[in-house]
Symmetry: D2
Subunit: 388 residues, 4 copies
């Protein structure tokens, strides 16, 4: 099998999970711009996600956010997904949108609030039991805005206690994925601000606790691929939340801000077997299409991950290893750049045709009439947004 | 007059303008936490601002945000302010909260949207004519999220055209104050991202166009006091928007994150005569009290500016100049630090007593019962928030 | 002429100036690693620069650093350059490597040091008169390390005075190019820290004073292409110092850290006519090949600029403009990305063959035996390094 | 015992270690400015360190850097230190200043270079055996400058192997302290870039492997006190390298850039018992006095740590805890700020007098004539600098 064919073989099996919330309205603290035709409930989000999968062939599941996507009967939701060819994926817990959480959820100084937050996390595991989801993804907005506001160590104690209780609650085939984020919405301390904090907690929890790397959640200048490589070496990389940023957690389309960085990240993944058949890394998008249409925004995102992956797969690792061993700085860099500079769009078009998908997903979606259809259909009701 | 008395003399005349929006609810894109007793209209905001002035003695005006604070009759609003001992101050234009502004206001590629935005700016000048406000503060959220989305230069052309039209519309005693901001809500380009851009536009507009320095609107590592000193030297510093930040535009209480930086900024102001009787620099707060109570948050902010100012006034400039001229690095730094390390709270308590204000503004407010009163009174109606 | 041919036409005329100091040893404050065969005098630097031009065809001049490259007779130096097919280019003044400059050069509190620095700048203009150089590039390391160390405004006064004196000294066909840099070696204030400062000074000096954008000299998160577009619009962009960085002023090979950023910068240049025949923008490299061999490092750098330029030239500006005007965010971004994702290496290989240059400059240099030759020849004497 | 007396009791026992290299010349890659009277050998560095201790009373040991401070007989060196009232402290290994280390030391792709580096580390433990030093501090400049240059994971394997070998070599009362640093001199990857990496390695090594927090080694926006609190909670904080910075690793006088941050860090230390009698945290300075005189620079640094410590000790922890538990954001912040805003210089002057030290260390040193003496004495020979 040539490198090209080997690359296609991996690309054919690649799976990228879509976030249900990407299809709803989103924005900044200054304004949420409403778009036409956005979903009004989880079922419509599933329909939109299925369109992304239909046009790309590699996005066969949708992550849910609880309570945004809470329904009475998850079996019904699961069947709705199955009907359009996708699955329910990761369950994302939301303990940041209740007035009680003003000073934190599981790390709140008030035990009653902590209890409430923990109960919600348990409820999320209940949902997992019903949806058959493997992963519980935890992101805590918890932190403080002012020095002295709360005790940094005490908050870690509370965090450890909550994580431990949740981990205990999981069944043997379920995992806890702990996300970290430098800042926002907390502006002085964040209780899980970096990969080291997430890693240290996961280590204590056990085998099935792993770190989630959100590509937009780092301090300026952080080398993300180093973190990815380090966590892969430790067997502690659980999931990616893909997006991109120029400044802070901008939640732009993955690969839009720094496509070379995305390539370097995926090269570390490929290099460590992270795309192998037995890999348990979850590859998810986590983005906000504030000003661009949502479905094409997701399609473009999936394509960007595919393109970066394809380039990563084309690296001549033998030549690279030889140059590295020889201390040939420019030679080794040149091998990597040769792959990056390759135009992989023809390869991916070919792959799509082999998979029975239109080689031009953006064009195919535009021509499909789906955008016009949902704009016409989804009138009345309350559009889904963050919190809706 | 001793240094201490001279300092008090300046501090007695200091004026810090309060932003009407600081009294309403605010938050992040993740959640706006509602507080009890927040104002439901501009009149209630004025009442709250007057309380801050009553407890500090140095906050005698309130900045308005249009349309948030739009009323039918500004004479009525002005009288309401006068009745409680304060004035209406700077008019802040808001061209970022309408769905039409999704791709920009005055720099929007669509001429109809630009026209709408410009009309709003003209309407703001109409308000100024009625309130007697000197300053029109312009902050544009305009920018782009993705490379290629729009033409950077063309947007500058549109910006220049709008600024020029507004400047023409001003009367001879009115000023245009142009704010800059690195990013947010735009995540790739911002049309006025830095002081240089604002300065260049103001230079072309004329004498009465000046730059506004918001202390939270810079890239990491930016030396803000350098910018302040530079603009003062050029006669182009029009106003401050005071707040503080650890990460991005966190809009925390001024001085809360880096009190030494606030001191250095105010030292440059003092040093350049920016607190002299004939200075026309507007000193405003621009903050969001997301998790702390709003009125005490404003009182603390005013006190922080006072403390930093007091320290700046206590610098032994003669000794400083001598050490600087001698190239005595540690000596010169030591002179500055001597002032910074001084506990100026007794001096300010003394000043307050002389001004007939309680020496402990935070305590006095807590004891006043005002918080309990507004919590009881302001029930029903719609609480004012960003956009309310 | 097709887009491809039009692009080649511009690429054929492109000129990238090489810095003499890139061929000497360089390093960090921790260690300068010596390489074999590095030049021992300006003549050997010229020989190396000529090799880069021989292999690329677009690097026909060398920038000098005074006093590093000072010689008794510049006519002799000029002839040496002409003999190997290149020209002497920009003169870079160095007022940062004398013990007298510990607290600054032209902004030093000591007038005697200022005088010495100014004399050196005059001497650089003398050199220009003899080399026929058009541009005097000024980078001042001047600044302070500690708050209070010196007066920020007074240093601006001194800076303005020195710049004015130098500008007066220039003849009508000579230009002053003022570089800015956020920090290093000064760690608190830098006297020309950002483009705004450089722009403001240049504006006062006159037509022939322009700003130099060094791509590594910005705060994290700065949008460099915005600055480039803004300065081009103002007619104040004088020169580029190309390099790349992940963290601070890393001085890596241009395009190595963020090739997409380099493409966006060059797109703004192309878009504003900056590569037109009548453009007077100087495109220079300014890098330190600390661990990689110098000559191949320069060849790769030139190639990277070429590749980014080629992609910028391939943007379908008509389609882009249409998408921008229509507010089609994803469409406009897609047009830009289509050009970026194109593999332009075949186009450039073709161009090189047409220009009589080997299509594979890196390989051609490796095969040339030049590296072995200089390693053998340049033994003894003092290797050129920063300051040598 | 009042809070004031309790504070003095801790301050009396505080110990701050001085770095031998702070007394030698240092600088940036652009220039090392030579100062008069700097030491020419380790004995003269010891003499200078002893002066700092004489004037402050709390700096009774000196850290050595090997090979910079290598001598034939460490017993002689130890006696020289004892003679002037101080001890030899931490041994700092230097594997970054040999041409062999261009591509790394213990992570170099070449096994021979790794062996050489490891041998040096073993030699450092030999030195410890002779000096009686408890701590081996390891900072590796290892990393890469270009993507692809070397394999990130393989370098971690090599690092782990070297650390393990060194840890094995230590005796039961010796510790390995692993420092991390974001970047410089490596500009793409650093092999130990953050606390998480250091922590993960230390965890595997064992009890006596701990993390060193250098306050200048973080990405912009990093909350250092969070890291300190986290490591203290884990029992993994081994040492501080104190300095301060505005931009990158500026190595300025500790507390000079952000005294409030230093206070917050020390508050976490105090809060976690890090200054208790049984604490094994090493408090060291690690600075470069590039433009200021070295001995006064060290005295000022020690004083700055003392002042921040004194303020941290004055926090009313009972009131703080009560406000935190009540969710009183402004109240809790106010308690912390009350301590920070206190002028502790009188307290420290009093303490010094009680300890038999001049209450004004800077003045006392200036009056002592020591500066003039060493300037006169230390003529000829080679001044100690980085690498000397």
């Amino acid at each position: 099998m040539t490198g090209r064919e080997a690359a296609k073989s991996v690309l054919r099996a690649q799976k990228i999970e879509l976030p249900s919330w990407a299809f709803g309205n989103s924005g900044t603290r200054f304004k949420v711009f409403a778009q036409q035709g956005v979903p009004r409930d989880p079922f419509e989000k599933i329909a939109d996600a299925a369109r992304v999968h239909a046009h790309t062939g590699v996005a066969p599941s949708i992550a849910l956010h609880i309570p945004w996507d809470a329904v009475d009967d998850y079996a019904v939701l699961g069947r709705a997904a199955a009907d359009v060819g996708i699955k329910l994926g990761t369950i994302n817990a939301n303990v940041f949108q209740d007035d009680d959480y003003k000073l934190g959820s599981v790390t709140n100084p008030d035990p009653a609030v902590r209890r409430k937050a923990l109960d919600h996390l348990f409820a999320c595991v209940d949902v997992m039991d019903r949806t058959g989801s493997r992963d519980l993804k935890l992101w805590f907005s918890d932190g403080t805005n002012y020095p002295g506001q709360d005790d940094i160590r005490a908050r870690q104690d509370r965090l450890a206690e909550a994580l431990s209780a949740v981990y205990e609650r999981l069944s043997a085939d379920q995992r806890l994925i702990l996300e970290y984020k430098l800042f926002e919405p907390a502006f002085y301390t964040t209780d899980v601000p970096d990969w080291g904090t997430s890693y240290a907690h996961c280590l204590k929890l056990g085998e099935r606790a792993k770190v989630c790397v959100d590509t937009g959640h780092h301090a300026p200048g952080t080398n993300i691929e180093f973190i990815v490589a380090f966590l892969l070496r430790e067997g502690k990389l659980g999931a990616f939340d893909f997006n991109s940023r120029f400044y802070a957690d901008d939640d732009l389309i993955v690969g839009a801000a720094d496509p070379f960085q995305l390539f370097r990240i995926l090269f570390e993944v490929v290099n460590a077997g992270g795309l192998a058949a037995d890999s348990d890394i979850a590859f998810m998008l986590d983005q906000c299409h504030n000003i661009e249409p949502k479905i094409p925004g997701q399609i473009r995102s999936v394509m960007n991950v595919q393109e970066a992956t394809a380039k990563a797969l084309l690296v001549d690792t033998e030549a690279l290893g030889a140059a590295q061993a020889a201390g040939d700085v420019l030679g080794a860099n040149g091998v990597l750049m040769d792959a990056y500079n390759t135009d992989v769009r023809p390869l991916l078009a070919e792959l799509r045709e082999e998979m029975g998908v239109d080689p031009d997903p953006m064009g195919a979606y535009a021509r499909s009439g789906y955008a016009e259809q949902i704009t016409g259909d989804r009138v009345g009701g309350r559009q889904a947004g963050w919190g809706a």
